[in-house]
């Protein structure tokens, strides 16, 4: 311990935390609205979720239990590094179990297990503005949000239907929050969109490079944009998880050999492990020895 450099608790200085905390409170009061904040340099590159890290650093306390996932997995370099960072600078307990965590920082997935009251889900967001690819000017997109002018977004989705026969967007699928703001749910698969709706947990979104924080309070309406004749639908998988047999979960394709062999397994590694520990076995799974 004595060789560690001197950090403030949770790394950020108190003034920065206050500034981010004030932005978080406004974000909660105006669900789906992107609050500007002065993003700070963090000891990790952008793309590593500096926005999410700053949000987590501003809310975390010594009694919190932190879980970090990257594409559903707790064991990627990114997730391990962020977990280790907070274990060091905030001396918090960390976990891989969704239900044990008070704060879950995520890159691109929402855990399969329904979140509960008191939990906070912190999203790492690369591009917070859902209208950005339609309108590059910030002054214009801000005006569009102010006037609730979301026609362009519907035009883009409808062009999808004209071209592909369906809405082709599968990640960062835009949602409308509480009937007011159109919001980018970050590059999570649209499979996860329904989990944002009326969640028991508080959802906070941090975009470091773009200097934006936004939020969805618990019990808040989050509706994926769609059309009456082309209603929103999540991805469906033909087969259950090969390891745990789970259905209605998001699956990743895993290549098994160089002859095209592959299997589909839970993207949420904790969910898969818990199911296997409880005795569930998929087609390619091995029954857990210890039960």
């Amino acid at each position: 311990m004595t060789t560690l450099p001197q950090y403030n608790f949770a790394y950020l200085d108190e003034q920065t935390k206050r500034m981010i905390r004030r932005a978080i409170l406004k974000a909660i009061a105006i669900p789906g609205y992107q609050v500007p904040f002065s993003s700070r340099e963090m000891p990790m590159p952008y793309g590593w979720g500096t926005g999410g890290v700053q949000v987590t650093a501003s809310i975390i306390g010594p009694d919190d239990v932190l879980k970090v996932i990257d594409q559903g997995a707790d064991d990627t370099t990114n997730a391990v590094s962020i977990r280790a960072f907070f274990a060091k600078v905030a001396q918090v307990e960390t976990t891989t179990h969704t239900s044990d965590a008070t704060i879950i920082q995520t890159r691109h997935r929402i855990p399969e297990k329904a979140l509960s009251k008191g939990q906070v889900l912190v999203y790492q967001v690369p591009i917070p503005e859902p209208l950005r690819f339609l309108e590059p000017r910030e002054t214009e997109t801000r005006k569009m949000h102010a006037l609730e002018e979301y026609g362009l977004m519907h035009v883009k989705l409808y062009e999808d239907i004209a071209r592909h026969g369906r809405i082709a967007t599968t990640y960062a699928y835009p949602v409308k929050v509480e009937g007011r703001y159109v919001m980018d749910p970050s590059p999570t698969p649209k499979f996860d969109n329904p989990k944002m709706h009326m969640s028991e947990a508080l959802q906070l979104f941090g975009a470091g490079r773009e200097h934006r924080i936004y939020a969805v309070p618990p019990h808040t309406e989050v509706v994926s944009l769609d059309f009456e004749d082309h209603p929103f639908a999540i991805q469906h998988f033909e087969q259950p998880c090969a390891l745990c047999g789970a259905e209605q979960v998001y699956l990743d394709e895993v290549i098994l050999d160089d002859r095209g062999g592959h299997m589909y397994v839970c993207s949420d590694t904790d969910h898969c492990e818990e199911r296997r520990a409880a005795g569930h076995v998929g087609d390619l799974g091995v029954k857990e020895a210890a039960e």
Binding site: E14, L25, I28, I30, Y33, I60, H145, A146, R180, L202
Partner: protein, 199 residues
Amino acid sequence: MDLGLDGGFADPVLQSQTAFRAIMDALANPGAVQRLVAPGSPTSSIPPELVSTLLTLSDHDTSIWLDDSLRADSAVLQFVSFHTGAPVVREPGRAAFAFAAGAEHLPRFDQFNLGTQEYPDRSTTIVLAVPALTGGPDLIIRGPGIKDHGRISPVGLPEDFIGQWSANRELFPRGIDLLLVAEGAVLGLPRSTRIAEGH
């Protein structure tokens, strides 16, 4: 001579984190009373819950408005200046935060900064100390953060509170946010909350 140095958080880093989480939970779960760490007050004219929110949220980047009773006490002004460096403004419309020791000296909500349609976040957050968070007339609340509906019954709300609040709610996404504090606790009413009289 009292230089305003007394009072405040004994452990500013961890206590302001605890206080912030209470405030955050209060706004994310409107109506649900959250325990608020209440530090020592520099003087009896400022309730400890106001000290707690003041120290947690304000600094030299936030202009703050103080009601007459607070502004009249030089010990409060010295405390604010020494601990936060926040500029104190007289016009409620310029305040990022407004602190009031009671509803009697509080201007109507629409006198505060209501934000703009493009930057609704630039509005005032009002922190109002009331005699109690429960025991008053029954109010029904609905909106984000509230499962179905909730009930609150704070004592000592401003006059024509329902009328003022409805007008504030009409302005959404503009509008003030309200934190009620009493007895070591905080209750949040973000601008998104709809409030009606209970029966």
